[in-house]
Subunit: 545 residues, 2 copies
């Protein structure tokens, strides 16, 4: 009873705060009920013959930077697209995004604004918090980082022996690791091929001591600059690994404070410490998993590739953000992708989504999306804390093609569950070195494979022998670009961040908190304090803690 | 009609061939029907208080090499374990394994024996094919590889300039890549810490030209030896990447045939080519995803760590294989794990399984298991080609802990689907370098976290605020070991290979073919030959092929 009153009051106060839009559960929307009743589409039937060709031409939305989101092989048709538009309108997706970028407290659980889009551009009104214009704050941080990175590259900032730094090592976990690491790998070869490569980057994340030890063994610490990334300044893994690194620096006879910089919030214990050569700031309005465009990604990527490359990456993200404001689902790739995903999850009943980039450079991008998506929308209560009667975020997994084709694609083609697929492909490679074998280059073979897979999944193939039969009807979409450049990477990152945001709006969850990570932390502390009983004590004993 | 007769005849002939055991669908077994009716177990209730402590002590099976499989936090009790035993007996799991290791044609689709266990030990009768004792054949290959590796290490085999090789580069995809790569990463730091590290290994897999180009840019080709791995000698990606490498060697003024060895079948076009310094053989009885213990893993791992280390790895796998022959599910970790997985998938209805090693060294082991499991059991027809009325292989995904805790664990704890979890943890690190922060080492923190997670997932936590509430009841098991040594790695690999095999027996699928990968290959060839129409032509045009 008390709890119910609490929720009701919370809801009342909250609706008062944000007057413009209504936050309702998906299953209360009449557009959703209509979508449930709408006739289903057979991907196999629709994608056959000339109709398939027409769909590929028609069901494509331009993205920023020359990219396109093609959804021809999804289980949709014009009637469903109309129903999607009605759902987008009734759920007020564009209005909710507007509230968000205008600085409303969308992260209700933690009572925080959600401003990661503001790190790359101004979409709406000025956002002022505690007297600070937040766009100006983020731009100032980028500019501080740019100056610092340029000084490191020019040799104005050097190590204790007056020598240039050659390597940057990011110390961070979760959002401070996966996004920056995925983007570093995505652009490393591009940077080397275009003369934009400044310094090698390495990453230490796991509290497993072998992670830090192996990275430290692989770098020349005397010429390495370490970026400690923790918003709160209290992340166990990161602080432990900082000590690990400081130990190594000390053993090498080096002054740690000349080798470390911090990326943190202004209120954290790291902010004004003399332990760091410099500190760059983010704030509570940037969730870890959405922090790649803030100082969290900015420091390491600007050091690795130069601040101009990082700025180009931000421009790509900003350009895609603008497209995401469109109220027309057929012109808004993020909103459309989000609705298709919810349709597949809540109406067609598919449990997971595979992300399959046909680009080795995107090898860790699926791991980043796994966090961004599953941590945001893996929730069982709505934004008012009320239990939900429908499923929310799916499992996200993936590996680059063509590698995946020789691995888990068997299940995707012939398994008993249908797993929707998100392909990504580029016409051109990054390095440009290639060989012509049997009349085609490797890049052509790569692209031929992704085209073939889309059609194989959609259309299947009949066979006398059931074991060689492909049912088809496996829906997929593809993002196609010219080349994986910094701008394209920014646009693709923005696409998925905004897709996740729109899905959170549809499910009516708070996509910007992560209370589900707390209990493990609390119990781990108990184990380390030997304050355990029952099963926890037994496991601790088994593991010799 | 014709198809039905065909299937019936196939079944008849087949049952004739393998007389000892009966191959029936899971849903025809009375033990399965009884299991469906059996009372469900609440993990949350069972794992609370002192009963939880008792379960942790009791529900543990010794594995080889001092490892243990602990299933206290699974949704089982003594009654269910009895029902599992009945299912194992009725499904004749031990008998089917016996047929397999005695050399029967278990891979019915391709009409092949399944002999990967024989690469590491002899479990049953001599297996003779075409007059060759297969155990002797595999041992001979290992011994040839050992001699070759020792010659490379000693300098008896050198490059064109008479210099020692320093790097080995594996060229292979799917099973020729994921397993060997995962095991190399698993043992790299152990080898460095114990003086067993001989040569760095790199891997080229993707047909994406940037994969080969980046690896070639990162090695000293003049001192690199390349291992070309393709059973058939016809894998598109691998042959393309071979040409890529040969091009690079030629451009560097080197004789490619002095830098390349082949791992292939004796009947492949690569087997007797003068293009290679040496050739080592596998055969059709070793599936790619089960080939890590054959020459496919043997060449690269023996070159990287020395043949003695590879032999220790095989010993660990062989020891675990022996345990897998036990008819008692409570003494057979592989059979038990398999049945629990099928119970979770087909009776409790869980769609996916996460593999969560608390060991950075196992960073790519989940990707290997993703192939091994999903390619084996992602099937919709039984071994006779008859459609199945139940779900088979789940989605498998995972990342090392503690990294995953800061990523997708939110969904695992508080999402709307329950995902069973497979933890792996070791008491000791591999390198041994560690720091003591706040009274505990990093290794202790790592272990404290995995202990805490198991209990958090099982027991949950109530809270006034639904958003901070954990339902618990998330089942998990853990494999615990002293340290990730070559023997432990072998035992763990064997555990999962045999688990997958037993699950295939339960689902009555052929776990050893992969017809689902064929259609994509056929269509990709059409694209490259410009022999397309409809949607396939449009996608080809979009991708500039």
């Amino acid at each position: 009873m008390i709890r119910k009153v609490h929720i009701a009051m919370h809801r009342l106060v909250y609706q008062e705060e944000i007057k413009m839009v209504k936050w309702n559960n998906l299953d209360t929307l009449s557009a959703f009920a209509n979508l449930e009743k709408a006739a289903k589409v057979s991907v196999k039937k629709e994608m056959a013959g000339e109709n398939g060709a027409l769909r590929v031409k028609k069901y494509s939305v331009p993205m920023a930077e020359g990219l396109a989101y093609n959804y021809a092989a999804k289980a949709v048709n014009d009637e469903l697209l109309d129903a999607f538009q009605k759902l987008a309108d009734e759920a007020e997706l564009a209005g909710k995004f507007e509230e968000l970028y205008n600085g409303e407290v969308i992260n209700t659980g933690e009572k925080r604004r959600v401003l990661h889009q503001l790190t790359r551009g101004q979409l709406g009104n000025d956002v002022v918090a505690d007297g600070v214009n937040k766009r100006e704050f983020y731009v100032a941080q980028q500019s501080n980082i740019a100056k610092f990175a340029n000084d490191v590259h020019s040799g104005a900032i050097v190590n204790g022996n007056g020598e240039k730094f050659t390597t940057v090592v990011q110390i961070g976990i979760g959002g401070s690791d996966l996004g920056p690491r995925a983007i570093y790998l995505a652009l490393e070869n591009w940077a080397k091929a275009t003369g934009n490569f400044k310094m090698e980057a390495k990453f230490i994340s796991n509290v497993d001591p072998d992670d830090a030890a192996a990275v430290l063994n692989s770098v020349d610490v005397a010429h390495s600059i370490f970026v400690l990334v923790s918003k709160s300044g209290t992340t166990l893994e990161t602080l432990t690994n900082e000590s690990f690194v400081k130990d190594a620096l000390k053993k090498a006879g080096l002054d740690a404070s000349k080798h470390m910089i911090a990326v943190t919030s202004e209120t954290s214990p790291l902010a004004k410490s003399s332990d760091y050569l410099a500190a760059f700031f983010m704030d509570d309005f940037i969730g870890g998993r959405f922090s790649s465009c803030s100082a969290v990604g900015g420091a390491v990527l600007s050091l690795a590739f130069g601040p101009e490359v990082f700025a180009r990456f931000l421009d790509g993200a900003a350009a895609e953000d603008k497209l995401a404001t469109n109220r027309n689902v057929k012109e808004n790739p993020e909103m459309l992708d989000a609705i298709i995903g919810v349709y597949e999850r809540n109406i067609l009943g598919f449990p997971a989504t595979a992300v399959l980039p046909y680009s080795q450079a995107l090898s860790r991008f699926p791991a980043h999306l796994q966090q961004a998506d599953m941590e945001s929308n893996g929730k069982s209560v709505n934004r008012f804390g009320e239990p939900l009667n429908y499923v929310t975020g799916p499992v996200i997994f993936g590996e680059p093609g063509t590698n995946g084709q020789h691995s888990f694609y068997q299940l995707l083609h012939q398994g008993t569950d249908i797993i929707p697929l998100q392909f990504i492909g580029f016409k051109n490679s990054q390095i440009g070195t290639d060989v012509d074998i049997q009349g085609s280059t490797s890049q052509q073979k790569l692209c031929a494979n992704v085209a073939a897979q889309i059609v194989a999944f959609a259309c299947g193939k009949d066979d006398e022998n059931n074991n060689k039969k492909f049912e088809g009807n496996r829906p997929s979409s593809i993002i196609i670009g010219e080349q994986l450049t910094p701008e394209a990477m920014g646009a693709i990152l923005s696409h998925f961040e905004n897709k996740i945001m729109f899905q959170g709006f549809l499910w009516n969850v708070n996509s910007f908190d992560q209370e589900g990570v707390q209990l493990g932390k609390v119990l781990a502390k108990k184990v380390l304090a030997h304050d355990t009983d029952g099963a926890l004590k037994e496991y601790s004993d088994l593991l010799n803690i």
